[in-house]
Amino acid sequence: MDKPMQPSSQHTASDAYTAAQAAQTASARRDKRTFSVWRGEGNDGKLVNYTTEVVEGMVVLDAIHQIQSDQANDLAVRWNCKAGKCGSCSAEINGKPSLMCMTRLDELPAEEPVTVEPMRAFPRVRDLVTDVSWNFRVKKTVQEFTPRPPDAQDGTWRMDQADVDRVQEFRKCIECFLCQNVCHVLRDHHKHDEFIGPRFFVHVAALEMHPLDVADRVPQLSAEHGVGYCNITKCCTNVCPEGITITDNAIIPLKERVVDEYFDPIGKLVKIFSRRKQQAK
């Protein structure tokens, strides 16, 4: 429980000092661990075992880099920020879609090898690298942000924080494509031509719920973007490293908008009318 009055700054600092010292002692222990890494090109490849030394706090990406530097110079891996912000190092670790840079080794069972494989919903290029270019093509099909005319005298807009909170949740997305990877519509049924996947439903939701946006992406959602294929199993939400509630906050509201638009014509008219009014303002 919190003790609000007691800890002075001095107190917390010396507590942290003791804790950090303990951590340092613990790190003196150096263990070896084995990693089973998928090596190959296209669909032709296999798991190869590498054993490397690990220290406290190491993440899977550190181990992969160590293996690359010491044992397999040509081991292909895509990465960038190493801080969970760029979404480049997506892979399947012990079968679970995860960011390699944010998965600590001490979270994984110590007694068995750590399996590291490329994502499965996209074509394999080499080793841990997949061809994710489809995602970039999909984004082009979503109509871009279209603001209403500025409403303030200085040529800008006024928006309340409360009205942008929802959109800001969606805009946390780092485009790691783990949600796409885990979605069975893409992963198992390969509906890449008919279905844009959770990432882009989040993208559409961020635009549709943007307080300034006046475009209507709902007709496209069912006709081309295949929102109907989603049967809300929430696999995407479970793997999102940013903790975006993809299914509940993005996909379900979009599905409701589709239903409103197609099965509630009066509601639709009201909506169009109110939008015109807003634009005219």
């Binding site: 600092a13 951590a23 993440v59 292909a76 946390k172 485009e175």
Partner: protein
């Protein structure tokens, strides 16, 4: 099959972070055919890591702010070595660039009256940073990326590395590079080229920068005959993670201090009060309570010493550690948890204001920053120097070759203020795109392709595969990083820099003989071998420039010359490739500032 594929553009933009994207969007708006080269996937560039915000004197939170204050703050922070024209344009144009981002869909945090919220940051007199929690860079890059994908004039080439610029006589004619996925060579012919490749962090062992930041643009420009400027000024960000070892160097945003975070040594002493530079004394709080009030928006209070400029804060941390008052892993403590003494629900408040920092420490270090101080230490973060450009057009000394963002020099002088980078990318990305477009339009047909030069560059790039003996490139890269970290770091001295220079010469020789195994498809060993040449070039430039500046100023601190010297106050350090390939250095006088700008500086004190 041809040795390379050829593409033709009006404007070629190399680099797709904030500056590159903004330049590409601008050139496209001028109806140019634009090629955009990304070293990574689109939207993954280092801009995504920027946390705190973009500085723009909009005056939304404190209406005393305006471009004049921002200009004076930037010049003071840069110790007056800045290209004053760039500092002027930056301060004047940043607000419009931020508003433009909002018009393109960015969703900044809001003030209570619905405008863009602005936060405090080091060296800025008033709350000035437009931000989105602590993920402002992501918001910016995604907004620019989403706009660029809908501009049909822009052709994006992802995961490509540029090996050399191609020239036609004295002017630039395009670039040669390869795609990482297949290792195929490409020639991108263009009438104008914009470099927007970012920094050099990977020349050091401890850095906040990703693998991409290997000084590519600085080296490409240097090899093409352009001048580099102020390379001695490297920014060591005071707060990087230091524990556990695998996260060492990862950035901890200055926003933590902007929100009230304080720095403590192992004895719990708030050591930043111990040394406040004279030229900041009048603006800095002299007690803890005043500093706290400032971070909470009290306009009558002065800022806490934790928000002094980054060069100074980093050196104070180094001093504490050196004198035996550091934390167990060689840093100090950054404490935001203490604010529970001041506000109710502080844990929720911290999570709302600093969500990525909460997440980052929780997940990577097992530390809850709402209850426990963070252990932090300086990390190589940014280079103020780079390609010398014209302040208005961003053109380098090579015709048709432009540079914007971190790769360009000038705006930040000897030290960059936090938040001035994101606004730099927008202001000068736009200017570079606009002037590159104009240059392309006025230059007629494409220059003829020099196929001989392209073939020679390809042969050189492939040489590591041909060798049957030689070491792997990783060892050379690691040694260079240690050499620079230990000898040309935060505190510098003559003997160490001399040692670094001879070390660099030896490593250059070894780099010429590295061997790469495997083949060209997505081969990280090969990419490292190519990046290595660039790292060596910028490391040499940094070291030579640092050796020549026998004083301490901004990001450049010398143990053997600890004072700021008037004799060094009036020139920039210029580096250029000599006729026989040797690196030449020249001290060049800073052009006299316009009187009206001098008056602004005098007025702001």
């Amino acid at each position: 099959m041809a040795e390379f594929e050829t593409y033709e553009f009006d404007v070629l933009v190399i680099g797709a972070g904030g500056a590159g994207l903004r330049a590409a969007i601008e050139a496209a708006a001028h109806e140019c055919k634009v090629g955009l080269i990304c070293k990574s996937l689109l939207g993954k560039a280092h801009t995504v890591m920027a946390e705190g915000g973009a500085a723009a004197a909009m005056g939304n939170v404190d209406d005393r702010d305006n471009w004049r204050v921002h200009f004076a703050d930037t010049m003071r922070g840069g110790q007056y070595l800045n290209n004053w024209r760039m500092a002027e344009l930056h301060a004047k144009e940043a607000p419009d660039r931020i508003k433009e981002l909002e018009a393109w869909g960015a969703v900044f945090d809001r003030t209570s009256d619905g405008r863009i919220l602005q936060r405090n940051f080091g060296g800025h007199r008033y709350p000035r940073l437009a931000h989105v929690g602590d993920r402002t860079g992501l918001e910016m890059i995604r907004t620019l990326q989403d706009r660029s994908v809908h501009r049909h004039q822009i052709d994006v080439h992802m995961e490509c590395t540029v090996v050399t610029l191609l020239k036609d006589g004295d002017r630039v004619a395009g670039a040669l590079g390869y795609d990482r996925e297949r290792g195929r060579f490409k020639v991108w012919r263009a009438k104008a080229v914009v470099l927007a490749t970012g920094g050099i962090g990977k020349a050091y062992k401890i850095t906040s920068n990703s693998w991409e930041y290997t000084g590519d643009g600085q080296s490409l420009a240097y090899n093409a005959g352009a001048e580099l400027m102020d390379m001695e000024f490297v920014q060591f960000h005071p707060t990087g993670m230091i524990w556990p070892p695998s996260v060492r160097g990862i950035l901890v945003t200055e926003g933590v201090r902007g929100e009230g975070g304080i720095l403590l040594n192992k004895d719990g002493r708030r050591f930043m009060f111990d040394d406040i530079p004279d030229n900041y004394k009048a603006q800095t709080a002299d007690n803890a309570e005043e500093g706290w009030k400032y971070t909470q928006g009290d306009k009558a209070s002065r800022r806490p010493p934790e928000l002094l400029t980054r060069d100074h804060v980093a050196r104070c941390i180094v001093r504490e550690v050196k004198e035996g008052r550091g934390s167990p892993h060689g840093g100090v403590f950054l404490d935001i948890a203490w604010i529970k003494e001041k506000i109710p629900n502080s844990a929720e408040h911290i999570k709302k204001k600093l969500p990525s920092m909460y997440h980052q420490f929780k997940q990577l270090a097992g530390i809850d920053i709402t209850t426990t101080p963070m252990e932090i230490g300086p990390t190589t973060h940014y280079i103020m120097g780079g390609v010398r450009v014209d302040g208005d057009t961003q053109m380098s000394t090579v015709a048709g070759l432009f540079a914007a963002g971190e790769v360009a020099a000038g705006l930040h002088g000897a030290n960059r203020l936090g938040g001035n980078s994101l606004s730099d990318l927008l202001v000068f990305g736009k200017r570079a795109g606009e002037h590159a477009a104009e240059f392309a339009k006025s230059s007629g047909a494409l220059s003829p392709l020099n196929a001989g030069a392209a073939s020679a560059a390809i042969r050189e790039a492939l040489a590591p595969f041909e060798r049957t003996t030689g070491e792997a490139p990783y060892a050379v890269q690691h040694e260079l990083q240690s050499l620079m970290q230990d000898n040309v770091g935060i505190v510098r001295r003559e003997e160490e820099m001399a040692h670094a220079l001879s070390g660099i010469a030896a490593l250059k020789e070894r780099a010429r003989h590295v061997r790469v195994e495997g083949h060209r498809e997505y081969n990280p060993g090969w990419h490292t071998a190519i990046d290595l040449a660039n790292l060596l070039t910028v490391s040499e430039a940094i070291t030579r420039a640092a050796r020549d500046r026998k004083e301490s100023r901004g990001g450049h601190f010398r143990d053997d010359y600890p004072a700021k010297e008037q004799a060094y106050a009036t020139h920039n350090t210029i580096i250029k490739r000599g006729a026989s390939g040797e690196m030449q250095l020249e001290r060049r006088a800073i052009p006299p500032m316009r009187d009206e700008l001098k008056a602004v500086i005098a007025e702001m004190g």
